[in-house]
């Protein structure tokens, strides 16, 4: 501990009976920790996973091109066929006819398990035996924003607490210098990592990979103008007058909270840069994640940061890798997106495995929904080679790994059109219930009262799916 911190301790130790005083006295005991909303809390039962990393492929990757080929579709590539949509169905935007479109690259069986993975994802194919693939996941809305909201908060509108916020609320954070939920490169819609009606301390803290000199991983993490000395002197002066006011009013939980938040912020200033400074990582590790200045560089750094933060005790880390909304010319655009994500994601799984962390770390990789097996032509005039694919919430693929899911396992199947689930259907509510279950939480018991009733991540739905769990 440095002298300046001791200076602040002097002020805080004199706090009447505040949490601030206890937390900083260096004598932090269980009682004091329990007073913090981020204190570690025991789960409902023994968890399979202690932490979770979610790789959000925003925009929705095409499962028909990457994971689940359909002979019925491939055989009829480019031929107009009847729609799989029933009587009630509405045509999707820009789809004038149903042209089945074969995968744009070969999909082959991989590893011992024979899990089908595209040539576009060679690194991921190499870790197939670690993966558990759900092939009949179902969402409720086919527009990006509501679907992403549902994936991350359980509800297609409003601003309910996000998955990470529920984890932070339910389980706390294991590292008192870091928040319980960190989201790397979050989508613009802040609700997907918001705390909703939970205490705001549980909201996701956005973090980014610095791309140029002086850029910060967390907004305002550093004062670029003031030296640490200057900042410290200002802080000490500030905490001193805060303390005097606190003494005058003889205790105030809000004031104590603010005093403490300055201390956590100050600790984050030193803790976070070390975690996000990847120059200390070995050459081999950097290579594993594709940190080499190429197309994989930024995602590789994000995934490596996720591993470090997770290892350091952050309960829920999300990494968003966007660019999967391939409405047009998927033949050209999907391979580029795959090239940027394949190595970093596979590297993360391999790294977790090597470090023995995969066992109790749950990794999930998914878009907010999937894409159609038939083509989409927004222009109405291009040849099928230039077509893309439309959104599909009726079924899509989600990958899981580690943390109590069966490795090398495929769950669920859809019809010949890759449209409706015919077995192993997992609705998002069920996925949420199952993920909570793996973390040792009964999804019906993790609740928060709001506007006269108890709310849950799964609202009034959700069923734990045991079939693909170890």
């Amino acid at each position: 501990m440095t002298t300046p911190q001791l200076t602040r301790h002097r002020f805080l130790r004199s706090a009447a009976c505040g949490f601030g005083g206890l937390a900083l006295s260096g004598l932090m005991n269980e009682t004091a920790r329990a007073a913090s909303p981020l204190a570690v809390r025991a789960p409902h039962f023994t968890p399979r996973a202690k932490r979770m990393i979610f790789i959000f492929l925003a925009g929705a990757p095409s499962q028909g091109d990457l994971f689940a080929p359909k002979p019925h579709i491939s055989k009829r590539h480019g031929m107009a066929i009847d729609s799989p949509v029933g009587d009630d169905g509405q045509l999707r935007v820009g789809v004038a006819q149903f042209l089945p479109m074969a995968p744009i690259a070969p999909i082959r069986p991989r590893g011992q398990s024979g899990m089908m993975i595209s040539d576009l994802l060679p690194s991921l194919a190499n870790v197939a035996d670690e993966l558990c693939m759900l092939r009949a996941v179902v969402a409720d809305n086919k527009a990006h924003a509501p679907a992403a909201l549902q994936f991350l908060t359980g509800h297609i509108a409003e601003a309910r607490p996000s998955m990470g916020a529920w984890f932070s609320y339910g389980l706390g954070t294991e590292n008192k210098n870091l928040p319980g939920f960190i989201t790397i490169h979050p989508p613009a819609d802040g609700r997907v990592h918001g705390a909703g009606f939970l205490p705001a301390i549980h909201q996701g803290t956005p973090l980014r990979v610095p791309r140029k000199e002086g850029e910060l991983a967390i907004t305002d993490l550093r004062d670029p103008d003031a030296t640490p000395d200057v900042q410290r002197r200002r802080l000490d002066y500030l905490q001193n007058i805060n303390q005097r006011l606190l003494n005058r009013v003889q205790g105030d939980s809000q004031m104590e909270g603010i005093i403490e938040s300055f201390e956590l912020a100050f600790r984050m200033q030193t803790e976070t840069p070390e975690l996000v400074d990847l120059s200390s990582a070995s050459k081999t590790t950097q290579e594993l994640y594709g940190i080499d200045g190429s197309a994989t560089d930024v995602n590789g750094r994000a995934c490596l940061m996720a591993r470090r933060l997770s290892e350091a005790g952050v309960r829920f880390v999300q990494v968003t890798i966007g660019g999967w909304d391939h409405h047009v010319d998927i033949r050209n655009s999907l391979p580029r997106s795959c090239a940027g994500a394949d190595k970093p994601v596979a590297g993360l799984i391999r790294d977790l495995k090597q470090r023995g962390l995969l066992e109790d770390t749950l990794v999930m990789v998914s878009g907010e929904f999937g894409r159609t097996y038939w083509s989409q032509d927004l222009s109405g005039t291009s040849p099928i080679e230039k077509h893309g694919r439309e959104h599909q919430q009726e079924s899509f693929c989600t990958l899981l790994a580690g943390g109590g899911v069966k490795p090398g396992y495929v769950h669920g199947e859809t019809d010949d059109f890759g449209y409706r689930p015919i077995q192993g259907r997992v609705h998002l509510h069920d996925l949420h219930a199952t993920v909570l279950h793996l973390m040792g939480i009964n999804h019906e018991q993790l609740t928060y009262p709001h506007l006269g009733r108890d709310y849950r991540l799964t609202d009034v739905y959700g069923r734990v799916e045991h079939e693909f769990l170890v």
Binding site: R92, A157, L235, Y237, G257, I258, Q445, G452
Partner: protein, 839 residues
Amino acid sequence: MRESKRSMKNENSIFRPLMTLGRFLTVLVTLCLPGPIVFADDTPAKNVSDEAFFQTTVLPILQQHCYECHSHGAKKAKGGLVLDSRSGWAKGGETGPAIVPGKPNKSLLISAIRYEDYEMPPTGRLPEELIRKIERWIADGAHDPRATENVQHNGVIDIEAGRRHWAFQPPRSVTPPEVRDTEWPRHDVDRYILGQLEEAGLRPVADANRYTWLRRVSFDLTGLPPTVAEISEFETDQSPQAREKVVDRLLASRAFGERWARHWLDLVGYADQLGTSNNVFAEHAWRYRDYVIDALNNDKPFDRFIREQIAGDLLTHSTTEQRASSLVATGFLVLGDIEIVEADKEKLLVDIVDQQLNKVGKAFLGLTLECARCHDHKFDPVPQRDYYAMAGFFHGTSTVYKTSRGVWSDIHVAELPETDDQKNERNRLATTHAEKLKRWQQERKQAQDRTAELNNQLKQDGLSQEERDKLTKERDETSGRIGPLNNRITHGEFFAPAVPRTYAIQDADNPGDMKITIRGNPRALGDQVPRGFLRVASDKQPQIPKGRSGRRELADWIASSDNPLSARVAVNRIWQKLFGEGLVRSVDYFGLPGDRPSHPQLLDHLAIQFTRGGWSRKHLIRSLVLSRTYGLDSAHDDRAHAVDPDNRLLWRMNRFRLDAEALRDAMIFVAGQLVPSVGGPAMPLEFPENVGGLSPTNVNPPNFRLTKWRPEQEFQRTVYLPVIRSGAQPGPATLRNVFDFAQPSQFTGQRSITAVPTQALFLMNSSVVKKHAAALAEQMMQEDDETQRLKLLWLTLLNRPLTETEQHETTAFLTQAGENAWVELCHALLASNEFLMRL
């Protein structure tokens, strides 16, 4: 910080709430539970100190430690015993009555919590002091005001039983209680407060000093601190009317409406963006925001305010301005979190109806009507039929229409009537604008012609390389002008001066009753339900003229003094903004498991005064802030704290951190940089770079991306800045992202107040705060003498005189802090609790 709202239901003790015991908790019940619905009656308390002791001490213990297994909210009441009503413990469980009033030693409850026979609660023995409190309660006669009634018989809600809930009974007028200390009260409000304090054996703390009071009332009424001049004027004004003068000045300032409008917008889900997805700008939304500001500043009677927002399009009017303002008011029903990109239009329509009913229910009635969309309400006497009776008013209302853009819908836009002056001014602008457009079109034509000409010349054979280069250069320059001109012309055509328009609703073509949608599915329809009012809150049902939606009748019912909820909900919201907590703490929810009023008679008194006095918000606010209660210090008192730690009885003023708007506005204000505004468009859409997708053939509607700002926006009050629903608040409004701004997808009667490290990082390191600190320091430098300067800084920022200790310490700090010392000092003080909080 409202930490006490944690779940109490988890088996695991670590999931137990971290609450202070005295905190009054809402009863927590699971959503889908079997068993009857219970309801707490508002039997007048026989003795207020018993009442206070029960509410502040006994009930929280029962709720926290017993309800999990022994309430109607428990999955199964263990041993048949429920402790959530007087009859529950009187009847007792399988082993007989749990409590014998006056006889703790004969009460099974006591032997159980003493671990003498049963061991309750099974998770661990209660602390001795809590056991003693329960014993004292029983020894004193076990006062328990919680009568219960089933509001459900054989699965059918009993409306009559439901009417006994306090909030559904008409407000009752009573004489203010007699108080022993007749000197203390200044107004009736004070008599109610002191009455309950005296009954609990407590005294209010001392009055706040004049500096604290002035800062408090200035922030509460206008969201801004007092100026140095205002402080000195108040310091020297020793007349008995000094406070009244201050309050009248504040209420008459434009800043009052700017402050209080934002409170209302928190209930609207207001944003300058349509729907929840895609960046679709709501270019007319600002008219509604200005309407709310004007309504407050003109003290528009609140009943009229209700009527206009629900049925402004159907009201009669005497002036053009009144007609325009009533139309704009209906923006209340459309400027919320509604999805406008939804392929399933039937679903879209029932979802919009639900959203509107939800909003009306919470904002005006304090009820969660949306719970009864798929089934009878689980706690409140609101059958599913009543939901559809109320929903029918909005079912007969048209809010959106399908556009030609794929799955998109759009909100109805109504043209506003103009006065002659407005029309002339618009025509003048339109002429200038048309000339400008014509000029650009001509320029474009010239550029196109010249480009074609140059292209032709370039096709000629026999050009020298030099000639070719020269022509190519000119061709590129000329054709390069076409693109930007295209943008300007498209933008200019789109935003040409036009008849003023506003988002508005209208009656549908054939308004009729609505059918029940089974589990909310618009294709699975049940019975048709005649439109009508919530039966539990109304004896009467409306006569709806044929061909009408009935919104007019709905508005009249809500805006009536006969409605037991509207006035109470309204005055409670105002009370909460001034005192930090509502008399009913669940400000958006007056239902059965909601909070009960701490001062039921005061709440009724205020509601009655409010409606009798013409629903004047200014009048109500004036009377509240001039009360002695409002003027109390926020100081601690050991004795009062021991009895009422949560300050339910208001023995002192509550302290709270300023909200995002007050914080940002105050930082600009103290640096002398606030730029006044008279309203108008929030979005700087006049800059073509901020707008995209204007072509009508675009598959998506026009969109915004805010990259350029009007220079003055950095210094205008926050209420005038654009509000974004689906993302972070942009540009000058970033502070909102950090300090608990009301998320526009949520309904926020009371904002949360949190302390998170991102706020501290913002205050320590952000360029925003540093800029304010520099501007403030520069402003201070106008004073040459350092001591005088320090005094000025304290008055400007903390609105009170500098103390000697502070002067001493600060001088030492300044000496150490180097050349930037004053900026450093201002920076530290802007981040200090005393500046951030309203005491």
